[in-house]
Amino acid sequence: MPTEEKTPFDRRYIYIVLFVLISIPLLYPLNLPIPISPMSQDVWDATVALSPGDIVVHSFDFGPSTLPENEPQCSSHLFHCRELGLRVVAVAFWAAGGPLAHDIISEIYGEGYENTAAYGTEIVYIGYIPGAEVGMQTFGDSTWDAKGTDHYGTSLPDLALMQEVRSVADVTLWAEWTSGTPGEQQVIQFIQGRHQGENTDWPLVRGEHLLPIVAGSTAVSVPGMMPFYSAGQLVGILNGLAGAGEYEKLVNDVYPQYPYEQGPGLDAQSVAHILVILFVVIGNITWAISKSGGGKSS
């Protein structure tokens, strides 16, 4: 059992090696090539399949602690949506996501976007909707009832875009940026599941028109998302930092003005993964030696 064992190789050495070796590629990037995974490609395909003017909901359901992973995912996708001429309704079901989303949207649509003409026609930011899954359910049933005003205090019925988005049936794609609960599962349960078949533009999944959901998540949650992905409830997934880097690369290939920034981070990932494998190998070797040593390990 792990806790009983006296490790001959102190955990602190593992920590130090990790700290030092991960710092290196951040300071001196290695520029390794990036293959695109099918899950990220699916997100791209689902987005380019829409026609200009279609409505996309961006749901910012993460806190500051997972910004390194979620931020490049949603920024690159939001940028892509803007370039394709899609109209965006942004919401946040995490209290901490409220101010974060404002910052991220400002980066893409420009500082002070809430005072421009585009606001209310091309983009609306509703802000934090309290109540977690309950809030989601209400938003899906009737967008105006979930929250009276947008993030900046304007009443929702006064916004031209929100006149067209009365319930989730008017939405053509849901982009879920999440790092926990409420997240993709709650959207599937309380929005997609409740509204199946309400819009015939939605893709047909197992005989029902389902609201297409693309998700970007921390790599932790992705294995748990796989049943929903293979069941068609999720159309595509951006998997952690790698997914973000891949999407940035896809966007960067078509729109060179979009900065592709995850290179050094992904190099550091590679180093980290190799290190962990090395640790596992060393662990097994020392364990085998101590075992053959005849009861030395106490």
């Binding site: 991960i22 992973e69 209290a95 309290p130 599941g193 294995p223 930092l241 980290a272």
Partner: protein, 248 residues
């Protein structure tokens, strides 16, 4: 919920935030070496802030529901006083005699959540999963082409799902055919856990990479760089650790 800013904060506060960030980061990392006075101080500070943050979070959520929501107290719908009064029953936590009164708000919440959960579970965790399994392709055009063929994947999945599910049988002995099935199921569960663990490493590493980038790349008006402070913080950690050890 977060209203527009009132007033402006002086920009120098950003400098303070960066300095605090570096010290807090290094002090917390010092825990990895050994629990020490600095990590302990950060821990106590953090717990204090968190308790207030939780209160603010719950208070603001309740306020936006009960008072400022559509057709709520602010618009003269006084029935919303009832849940507020019910919630006050929680305060009997501090009374020995009327302690049980907390059960009233809790019983409503637990009932509502149980009902919501049952429906959600059946729909998305039970039915949708069965549906997806039923529709795994076994025959048809292209199903047995390529490598690995989709048909083979389907067969592996069906075997995996069924055997792993038998692992969760509680009231039948795991012997005979059921025993074989649960054994195979355990291997599938182990593969699930292994792949989940391996897939998680990336997420955890990116958090650390994010922190390192904060230490290496943060600057304030181009004259102060966060990494200037890293050695200072490290020296403080070492000094305090020595002091702590000398104290015994």
């Amino acid at each position: 919920m977060i209203p527009p800013n009132i007033g402006q904060l002086p920009p120098e506060l950003d400098l303070f935030a960066a300095i605090f960030g570096v010290f807090a980061t290094i002090f917390i990392y010092s825990f990895l070496w050994k629990e020490n006075p600095l990590s302990r101080a950060v821990e106590h500070l953090f717990v204090g802030l968190a308790a207030v943050f939780t209160l603010a979070f719950m208070y603001d959520a309740a306020l936006s529901q009960a008072v400022w929501g559509t057709n709520r107290l602010a618009e003269g719908n006084f029935i919303w006083i009832i849940p507020i009064l019910l919630s006050l029953m929680y305060f009997f936590f501090f009374s020995k005699k009327y302690f049980f009164l907390y059960r009233y708000p809790v019983s409503i919440v637990a009932g509502v959540m149980a009902g919501m959960m049952i429906c959600g579970m059946i729909q998305s965790n039970f039915l949708a999963q069965i549906q997806a399994t039923v529709e795994l392709p076994l025959v048809g055009a292209g199903v047995w082409e390529g490598w690995p063929p989709a048909g083979l994947n389907s067969i592996i999945m069906i075997i995996g799902i069924i055997t792993a599910l038998t692992f969760f049988f509680f009231t039948w002995e795991h012997t005979g055919a059921l025993g074989i099935s649960t054994r195979i199921g355990r291997y599938f569960l182990m593969a699930t856990f292994g792949s989940a663990y391996g897939g998680t490493v990336m997420a955890r590493m990116s958090l650390f990479i994010g922190r390192l980038r904060f230490l290496y790349e943060t600057s304030y008006q181009d004259w102060f760089w966060a990494w200037y402070l890293v050695p200072i913080a490290a020296i403080i950690v070492i000094l305090v650790a020595l002091w702590d050890r000398s104290k015994g």
